[in-house]
Chain length 441, copies 2
């Protein structure tokens, strides 16, 4: 499709059990015991599949979050997605996993297994993880500097893709007469000896229907953008205005071209956090109700999480949010600077910013399905986005409204699929299966 110029909008659901607003679980009438039960998650994922969404995505950090007290706990993403795989048949399944805290052989193998279990629907969201709390769970390893982490991550991804390529697509011959199940001549050692990793291979999992999992990335810094443009097939990004989104979009596509890649084969999906209702007034009322569920204490905890646990000075809630960027350690400066930008843009006091943060740092959208469809179309046509990473502030309601009311509008406008284009995640992005680097011809 992409190649015919018939550009289509993609929607990736960022799954969070109760919704992306941290206090969404507190609203009235919710059966809280449901969060304890995998069947609830599975209903959400099936709802996303009924809406023909491209994929669901699970964020991750290998540590107890600073805001754990106030939110529904989450499980390990690869394990979760293997469970969702057998409860669905078409939707893509994207798990976050860190290049800093996994062994490449284990990660390659678990994703390859997920890719086979799901019939070729796996994606790996590559993160490098710069969190003190995570480091302390893994031998208190010193946090590497930002660029160093990305250099290590490049080698990590190199090893993982070599392992995925170690099986040619036709290595499984299953020849009962000859007694050979696997033509081991088509399974190749990788013999990787690098700066950080020594891995002999081959992997012990055959190639999947889509060749290998889709690579997903979300870098915002210089090193992150370069990494994403080089390896990423789908890019998540946090863009608060169409102007910044267009600049980011152009930059990533240009960089991708610089790495010899076709710019239309890298898909940029900014985050959007809707609160939807049939009228704008009703949507505003719902958003206000959510905001009222936030105690200032929760906001402080979320702010602490944004700066990786660093103790910040007292900030009066009714004064403008202070710009302390220069006083912070380099690792957290870009995250804090984004908060300052957000506060400036909307002239926010600290108190208002903290309430706003309760739903995450991505772009908020409050309105009707029609208004959201208009917004998405505008960003899509203006080349600010190839689609969106949907972060409904309340679940399942936000997803129900999206599936039943936004999707049909996008379909009528010719922007969104009316049926799944194939069986693999790559099929949904119009990407062919990846051949092994060892495949001839």
């Amino acid at each position: 499709m992409t190649r015919q110029g018939d550009r289509r909008l993609h929607v990736n659901l960022h799954l969070d059990q109760a919704g992306h607003h941290i206090a969404a679980w507190r609203r009235n009438g919710h059966d809280l015991s449901r969060y304890d039960d995998i069947t609830y998650d599975i209903e959400l994922v099936r709802l996303a599949e009924r809406g023909l969404l491209d994929s669901i995505f699970i964020a991750d950090a290998p540590m107890l979050l600073h805001n754990a007290r106030y939110r529904v706990p989450f499980l390990e993403p690869i394990t979760l997605l293997a469970a969702y795989a057998v409860a669905t048949s078409r939707i893509g399944l994207i798990a976050t996993a860190s290049t800093t805290y996994f062994e490449p052989y284990n990660l390659a193998r678990q994703f390859a297994s997920l890719d086979r279990i799901s019939g070729g629907r796996a994606g790996w969201n590559i993160v490098t993880t710069a969190l003190t709390g995570a480091a302390r769970n893994f031998g208190d390893r010193e946090l590497r500097d930002h660029d160093g982490r990305y250099r290590d991550a490049e080698e990590f991804v190199d090893v993982v893709t070599k392992l995925w390529d170690s099986w040619e697509a036709d290595a499984v011959v299953a020849d009962p007469a000859g007694g050979v199940f696997v033509d081991t001549g088509k399974v190749h050692a990788i013999d990787h000896r690098g700066r950080v990793f020594d891995v002999a291979g081959p992997l012990n999992v055959p190639r999947s229907a889509q060749g290998r999992p889709l690579l997903v990335q979300a870098g915002a810094s210089e090193a992150g953008r370069s990494f994403g443009a080089r390896f990423g097939e789908v890019i998540f990004t946090n863009q608060l205005s169409l102007e910044s989104a267009r600049a980011y979009y152009a930059d990533i596509k240009r960089r991708a071209a610089g790495f010899g890649r076709a710019p239309e084969e890298i898909f940029i999906l900014p985050g959007i956090k809707p609160v939807l209702a049939s009228t704008e007034a009703e949507a505003r009322r719902r958003a206000a109700e959510l905001a009222e569920l936030i105690e200032p204490e929760i906001g402080r905890t979320i702010l602490t999480w944004q700066v990786d646990g660093i103790e910040l000075p007292e900030m009066p809630l009714d004064e403008p949010f202070p710009d302390l960027t220069a006083t912070l350690p380099p690792e957290v400066r870009s995250r804090y600077a984004r908060l300052v930008e957000m506060a400036r843009q909307h002239d926010m006091t600290t108190g208002r910013l903290l309430r706003r943060l309760a739903a995450g740092t991505h772009r908020e959208f409050i309105g009707t399905p029609e208004m959201l469809a208009d917004d998405m179309e505008e960003w899509f046509r203006a080349h600010g986005a190839d689609g969106f990473t949907l972060q409904p502030q309340e679940l399942p309601e936000g997803l129900e409204v999206f599936v039943d009311h936004v999707v049909p509008i996008l379909q009528r406008r010719g922007l969104f699929r009316r049926e799944y284009e194939g069986t693999t995640l790559r099929d949904l992005f119009g990407l062919p299966p990846v051949p092994s680097r060892h495949a001839v011809g």
Copy 2:
């Protein structure tokens, strides 16, 4: 149950897609494409659940096996079991994972996630992995000596159980009025600083319905037996005669008591590899057919796998299997010695041993359902076993016959459950949920 002296036999299915005979996939009439499809595995697991089996178990090694050419490839066990979890509701799910090649935080978290996804049905088969091929996939780490690996494994298990205990059972309060989802006063850092591992914790996954995953182990050496008796709740073992099984059983229970444990709370399940049919003659015919599918080349490969890839001298197929134990590196001696014992016991030539090895090294049983039930009862009553790790040589047939014909006999004799005793894996063994070490009272 155990406590009332009403001892019941347990059956754990060692899952291997085509069966434990390496050439079972070659027999006539099999749709080989099924092995490519998770729905086939799921049918097997559901069949085991229909038969009220305690658990299924998946073996593992993080490398391409030496015999990969001749067998159906297998996926990563934790991922697989998460998929099986949502397709079943009662049967236990035991995955093998290595203390040598996983980070304890990742392993603790993935098993805790599996345990929650399955509603408390997870078990971890703890292995230390002494394979050169595996080491080469993980930084070419030097293989530690046998006792050193077990010392490291003890610390690994200590860290993992501390992480599992870091959440008290009532830490999730989900109080919408107070705005608190998790009482973080009941989630504890572990601050482990050990000889090998530094892990701060806490884990980010709440406690499961059974407290924590069941610990499973299969050590045969001195260090392995001690480790199993200290940590194992279920013990797999390879015993070729009732006499040796009784000695092993008594030894493990005695050692467990020495660690202050109740001997009836550790369950010993020797492997058994049946070929079953309605008459003994028919079973023998089936076993002979399987044996004919083995080329000598396959036997050689399996022998190489038994000695971790070491090149052995030529062995004429029609001469007695030579005892080379003393000439081999210490790491593989106990495995080779077991082969010598097997060959001596049945006066086998090298050729016959190689054919025999094609179905694995565990005890073979060829006969009718009635004969197998008699054999199991004898071992069970003689305290050679608390149950069995079932390794059908052909699947699904071997499991179908077991479920439909052996289970009813065991039930009539009062040896096997007529319905599942609860919802967790610990329930099936009559074990109470494990409380967190931080729980008071």
